[in-house]
């Protein structure tokens, strides 16, 4: 591949790529991200390749393994271009039919289409499915069209034109001004204006400066950064290079978790390709600007996603944070000015340069511009990644895009912002989602995790879960975080075990305050959010645990019991056979009884008891009814004829 030395050369290459592509030629795209692989897309891919060959269509149809399409609930997903026919939950057995019917005969296969759960209507095109229809997919949209290992795919969609524009038509100051004007705020957690950070780094003294992509996505339940880096790595590289130009940096790092091997691989391929094309390296586009990028794999520590900790990790040391009286933009990696932004933030930059800050600021709310990718997970019908404009309501996200709560259950809360965020109750569902509104509600944007919880979720248990996570992940360097979290966790564990005391809630609030005010980094400063927000909105649940020794959601093991309703038990032996603890006594025609001493409360009996019997009961805060006397356990069955 010859190097591209000018913006004109890039345009020529793009035209050349497009001229070799027939827009009417059928192309099958299959999602092939990490989550897609888990749901079986590798097998589907092998089957597609084999079937295309078998049916002699190698020349007539293209096949592309793309990144995540976002609609993970229904994966693996196939979209057939140019019609954009969308098939969901594909299995290898479906493939021969897809090739012979849809590709050859142009017939749509009804059973693989999306069915609207409300109208039962079949939907053919991806863009008409409610999950996609209500999104604004600016950053994430190309994911479904690009093979991450093909730079040509990215170039065909206009890739690297923003970099060409920045380097040839704009000065670094102009690029910086544009980003400042766009009011782009960091997508990784705090929401600090990216332009201001860039400016501080640019103005900091020193010849060597670094730009860094933070892909140490650690929030449980959030995976948009992985999907972007895996699915469209060039967009992140392009944004990073533009940032480096504006800041005056010539070295960049991509810090990515080693738990994301596919992201590491794809970004490595992308860097290699960008080098070969001359989009990285010396004298990019003949502008005289040089820039190189290295990948650094993180070895698994949540706290290392914090900017100062991440920078220490890049130096090969233990990733612990430091006080930031001096910003990392001034003294970061090796004490040199270092500008760190999250994956999604960098990937947004090319859009701003190409379309302008004025276009970008039209989207979103007063204080938060543009779009944001959320990972909508938990007790929601359509689990997946959604990109929406800032300012959309939580209700729209959960009900319009997410399709509501499964199983007819009642919504209880939505948790945003990962372990640093809080739980937002039903009353606030009409809140417009942006950085400031979420903070006002006692939560935060974080990296965009959104975990939906229904009536079966215990809020004390959720708070305990997050503190358990944080106590494990606290690096232990500062006392308020290390000890504060540990003590809060102790109290919460006691409450969930029925050992809560009067005054525990107040003590939690007091500890929260100290931990928030005195901790060194954001991990400790925000650790109390899950506790405070659940106390604020769900105090009654705490009180039920403490005063009545009752878990209203039937989650806290120590506070619940299972028993079998002797009136309803049909002695079918299902629970008896499946009980892993062997705690169920009974037999054929003999009503089953749970031995409370042996029961491990795993809930298996409750799950396997046929719903038409519904004999296994879960109770909390009340004594277990005494078992039915042994002599009364025989069931006299009616004969089958009657």
């Amino acid at each position: 591949m010859p190097r591209i030395n000018s913006p004109a050369g890039l345009e020529e290459l793009r035209k050349d790529i497009l001229s070799k592509r027939d827009p009417n030629k059928p192309c099958i795209t299959l999602c092939s991200g990490t989550a897609c692989h888990a749901s079986g897309s590798k097998e589907v891919a092998a089957s597609i390749e084999e079937e295309i060959k078998k049916q002699g269509l190698s020349a007539e149809v293209d096949f592309r393994k793309t990144g995540c399409h976002g609609f993970c609930e229904k994966g693996p997903i196939i979209v057939i271009h140019p019609e954009k026919i969308c098939y969901l939950q594909i299995e290898p057995e479906d493939v021969p039919e897809i090739i012979s019917q849809t590709i050859k005969e142009k017939k749509v296969i009804e059973r693989l289409l999306y069915t609207d759960p409300n109208t039962n209507e079949k939907i053919i095109h991806e863009f008409e499915i409610p999950f996609y229809k209500n999104q604004e997919r600016l950053v994430f949209g190309s994911n479904g069209e690009i093979d991450p290992a093909s730079i040509d795919d990215y170039l065909a969609l206009g890739g690297y034109s923003a970099l060409a524009k920045a380097l040839s038509q704009m000065t670094p100051e102009q690029v910086l001004e544009e980003v400042k004007k766009s009011n782009l705020r960091g997508r990784g957690g705090g929401g600090f204006p990216a332009g201001r950070k860039w400016e501080e780094c640019r103005n900091a003294p020193g010849d060597i400066k670094y730009v860094i992509v933070n892909a140490d996505e650690g929030d449980p339940g959030a995976y948009m950064d992985r999907s972007l880096l895996e699915g469209n790595p060039h967009s992140v590289l392009e944004g990073l290079t533009i940032g480096a130009y504006a800041i005056g940096s010539h070295e960049g790092y991509i810090y990515v978790r080693q738990e994301y091997p596919l992201a590491v691989e794809n970004v490595g391929i992308a860097i290699q390709q960008a080098k070969e094309h001359g989009f990285l390296g010396d004298n990019i586009f003949g502008s005289g600007f040089d820039f190189t990028v290295k990948v650094h794999r993180g070895a698994g520590a949540f706290v290392s996603g914090e900017s100062s900790a991440l920078m220490t990790a890049i130096e090969g040391r233990v990733g612990e944070p430091r006080p930031k009286y001096i910003h990392t933009a001034v003294k970061g990696v090796r004490d040199r000015p270092s500008c760190l932004n999250n994956v999604e933030t960098w990937a947004t930059v090319p859009l701003i340069i190409n379309k302008g800050a004025d276009w970008f600021t039209q989207l979103g709310t007063e204080g938060s511009k543009g779009t944001k990718i959320f990972s909508l997970v938990g007790k929601v019908n359509n689990t997946g990644l959604v990109e929406v404009p800032m300012g959309i309501t939580l209700r729209d996200i959960i009900y319009k895009l997410g399709g509501g709560i499964p199983g007819g259950k009642k919504f209880k809360a939505v948790q945003t912002g990962g372990p640093s965020g809080g739980c937002i109750p039903e009353e606030q569902l009409d809140m417009k989602v942006d950085f400031d509104e979420l903070a006002k509600a006692g939560s935060m944007m974080g990296s965009g995790g959104m975990i939906v919880m229904d009536e079966d979720t215990c809020m004390v248990d959720v708070a305990r879960y997050f503190l358990d996570f944080l106590s494990d992940e606290s690096c232990g360097k500062c006392v308020p975080c290390r000890e504060g979290i540990r003590q809060m966790l102790k109290i919460l564990t006691n409450i969930s075990k029925g050992k809560g005391k009067e005054g525990d809630i107040e003590l939690l609030e007091e500890l929260s305050e100290v931990t928030r005010d005195a901790s060194l980094c954001a991990l400790g400063r925000t650790a109390a959010n899950p506790v405070l927000s659940t106390i604020r909105y769900f105090r009654d649940e705490y009180e039920a645990h403490i005063k009545e020794k009752r878990c209203p959601a039937y989650v806290c093991k120590a506070l619940i019991s299972y028993y079998i309703d002797s009136e309803k038990c049909q002695a079918c032996m299902i629970c008896l056979r499946q009980c892993p603890a062997g705690a169920i006594a009974g037999g054929k025609n003999q009503i089953h009884v749970i031995d409370q001493e042996k029961c491990t409360k795993c809930g298996t009996c409750f799950e396997v008891c046929p719903p038409r019997f519904g004999a296994v009961k879960k109770i909390s805060g009340e004594p277990v009814p005494p078992p039915i006397p042994e002599e009364a356990r025989m069931i006299a069955r009616k004969s089958k004829e009657t």
Partner: protein, 161 residues
């Protein structure tokens, strides 16, 4: 113990560690990257390997120990033949992951971070695998078992020996 000895000699004898270190040209700031590669090669970090890294990168052994115990990716003891990971991410948690973990612990007799005496299973919890649509998720040797329930675990684990 026999197993352990075998791993040890294999680790130092074949010169792979030298190769890994040489790749980073003795750069001390590459310590984490070097350890990651050794870990992925041998599934744990033998003491002999750490001594070698210490000499070649000129990093004191206590600093290497600090790094190796701080990050989750590293193991200072040999791992089992089969790796069980139970996802404890928030989405999996509210869909019942703790009950899955309890069942796995009952069946294998080991707790997260441990390996059984026969070196058959190692058990780990992970904070999010990012396939929340399939939660609760358990992974055995890279194979995903999604939407799982405690009653199914035994059937999955008995396929491994």
């Amino acid at each position: 113990m026999k197993e352990r000895k075998k791993v040890k000699t294999a680790a130092t004898a074949n010169g792979k560690i030298d190769k890994i270190i040489d790749k980073y040209q003795g750069d001390a700031s590459a310590l984490i990257q070097v350890l990651l590669e050794i870990q992925s090669e041998h599934h744990w970090l033998p003491k002999e390997a750490l001594d070698k890294v210490s000499k070649k990168l000129e990093v004191p052994l206590n600093q290497i120990q600090h790094v190796a115990t701080f990050y989750k990716a590293f193991s200072l003891v040999p791992r089992g033949r089969h790796e069980i990971q139970v996802c404890m991410g928030t989405a999996c948690h509210i869909r019942g992951a703790p009950r899955i973990l309890d069942r796995v612990q009952d069946l294998t007799g080991i707790r997260p971070g441990e390996t059984d005496l026969d070196l058959k299973f190692s058990l780990e919890t992970v904070n999010c695998l990012g396939c929340c649509a399939m939660g609760p998720v358990m992974v055995v040797d890279g194979k995903y078992h999604g939407k799982t329930v405690p009653a199914k675990i035994e059937d999955v684990l008995k396929n491994y020996d």
